[in-house]
Amino acid sequence: MFAYILRRILYIVPIALGVTLLVFALVHIAPGDPLNAVVGPDAPAEVVEQLRRSYGFDQPLPVQYVIYLGHVLSGDLGQSVATGRPVIADLGRALGNTLILSVGAAIVGFTSGILLGALAGWHRGGFIDRLATLLTLIGVSVPHYWLGMVLVIVMAVELNLLPAMGMAPGGATGWGFTGAHLAHAVLPVLTMSVIPMGIVARSVRATVAEVLQQEFVQALRAKGLGRGPVLRHVVRNVAPTVVSVLGLQFGYLLGGSILIETVFSWPGTGFLLNEAIFKRDLPLLQGTILMLGLFFVLLNLLVDIAQAALDPRMRRS
């Protein structure tokens, strides 16, 4: 097991390097001169040339990449072109905000998805199964920004029960565990949890049904185990697959949703990405994508380790 973890961690290095390479290449793949966002199109040629040198764009690409990598490793993601602030500061704040929504949506979406899927799989073909299938189908097919807006109209505008915009009263940012903060999170969290709920429920249902069809479940009954103990075996067999689905879904949640964060004016990574794209703020865009990419890689590592811990067949070299 230890050797397995070590090997997995080593595999991460080239993958993480690949992510930095892709993000680096982004500047050069993106259409137009990267300097266009910094200086106007009618800037004098010598100013542009000087800027080009100061950004290091005059160097050969491999050299540029090594310099970029050095900066990344020392925690320097550059400065936002639009605001002049260090990217890492804005990014840290946005990630924290998105994390609040993601964790909330994960708690709501994963628990309801697992419960729904497990019930459906256990009673396959029955009434509960059909009801759960309908619910998950709705969950994954309703556009979530539309659902967000409906929730805003009903809960915030019509019933005036919950706030619809921002993270705190008066447009303040920053999180705190107060009633007001929690109230602001309710609608975006609910909206965000719908898709993971549907996807998790679907795959839990399929996995439970598949495990229940295997002969060892009959064999467990044949040795005298009752419902409870058999259920425990089923859970242990379903867990590795479910963990990987949860990991993937949490990765998507962390990416933040541009649409949801825009609908609810929630200053997270989705919001930040949106801003970076519209303002052609390349350093900000690069930094955000890099961070999200690395998070995803890390999450995959954790999922792999968890799977190996849960399923002895995966520990093989």
Binding site: Q214, E215, F216, Q218, A219, L220, R221, A222, K223, G224, L225, G226, P229, H233, R236, N237, P240, L310, D311, P312, R313
Partner: protein, 333 residues
């Protein structure tokens, strides 16, 4: 325990029928099975694929899916009516009074638990002893089924063992609570030829040592000849012939048994050309009104297709379900 007199059978099955609801209609898998089994007796079930051998075994343990199957008849195990006791009681009987060795141990063992855990769990379930004590018992059991370096194997997962070892572990699991009746459903089909022999020898040895009754399903007539006290031949969910191994295998009375013997290569027939029984088994959703074997039977006539033949008892314990079966003296040539 009720009824432990020597003469009372360990298992008594009467009028057992099982049908399944399928998309194509009701499949009559078992259509009236009756037999008794004494303590320590070995009964072999022979029959083509789909004749209902596995379903019979599962029915004896009340393991069939309750919602999709309809079961009638009586199964008395040690005097207890398997289909009348509550599920709680049945759980106590499974794995303790009656247990099962499956055909494919790789599929029948839980892949994410160690062998030791799976055996110990069974012992804890039935005897309520501490898990550590149960693990010690599991070690003894692994040694008993002759698994080398048993101590290490206790911590092995099913996928880490060879097919033969897995089946030995499965047998250890089935025997963990000293069952009076062991059901073995083709326990060697998934194994190599040499390993098959070892496993069968082991089963026979354990059966004798523990004085267990065994119902062994097999396709191998040689195995039946060597291990069985009695042999039952199944066709379309019925016993078409029943008798001692010698009677059935040396002097088959049912044309199906004769065909089966001719089509199977066994000990003294090795080298003879295989002669498969022509035709296919009947459609269980639409069984013929007469003898189910009549469409394939070389001797079939109008009697056969009129009504299903009833059991003909040739002598005590010797039965054939065929209109041609006669008490020996009266048998026409």
């Amino acid at each position: 325990m009720p009824d432990q007199t020597q003469s009372a059978p360990l298992l008594s099955v009467s009028g057992l029928t099982v049908s399944f609801k399928t998309e194509r209609g009701t499949a009559s898998a078992i259509n009236g099975v009756d037999f008794d089994l004494k303590r320590g007796e070995v009964l072999c079930l022979l029959g083509e694929s789909g004749s209902g051998k596995s379903v019979t075994l599962r029915a004896l343990m009340r393991l069939l899916p309750e919602r999709r199957s309809r079961i009638a008849g009586k199964v008395l195990l040690n005097g207890e009516d398997v289909y009348a006791v509550p599920e709680r009681r049945m759980e106590k009987l499974r794995g303790k009074a009656i247990s099962m060795v499956f055909q494919e141990p790789m599929l029948a063992l839980d892949p994410v638990y160690t062998i030791g855990h799976q055996i110990a769990e069974t012992i804890v379930r039935h005897e309520g002893i501490a898990f550590a004590d149960a693990e010690r018992r599991a070690l003894d059991l692994l040694e008993r089924v002759q698994i080398p370096s048993a101590k290490r194997r206790l911590k092995a997962y099913p996928h880490e063992m060879s097919g033969g070892m897995r089946q030995r572990a499965m047998i250890a699991l089935a025997l963990s609570c000293n069952p009076a009746l062991l059901l073995a459903d083709e326990p060697t089909t998934a194994l190599d030829a040499t390993v098959q022999m070892q496993i069968l020898l082991l089963l026979r040895q354990l059966q004798a040592e523990l004085d267990m009754a065994v119902i062994l399903v097999t396709h191998d007539i040689g195995v039946a000849a060597e291990t069985a006290d009695r042999v039952a031949v199944m066709y379309a969910g019925r016993f078409v012939e029943l008798g001692t191994a010698r009677q059935v295998l040396k002097d088959p009375q049912h044309p199906y048994t004769a065909g089966l013997l001719a089509s199977t290569v066994h000990g003294n027939m090795r080298g003879h050309a295989l002669e498969a029984i022509p035709g296919a088994p009947p459609d269980l959703t639409n069984l013929p009104s007469g003898c189910a074997y009549a469409p394939r039977c070389p001797h079939a006539d109008a009697h056969c297709t009129a009504a299903p033949p009833s059991e003909t008892w040739l002598e005590p314990g010797r039965m054939a379900r065929c209109v041609r079966a006669r008490v020996p003296a009266a048998a026409p040539v």
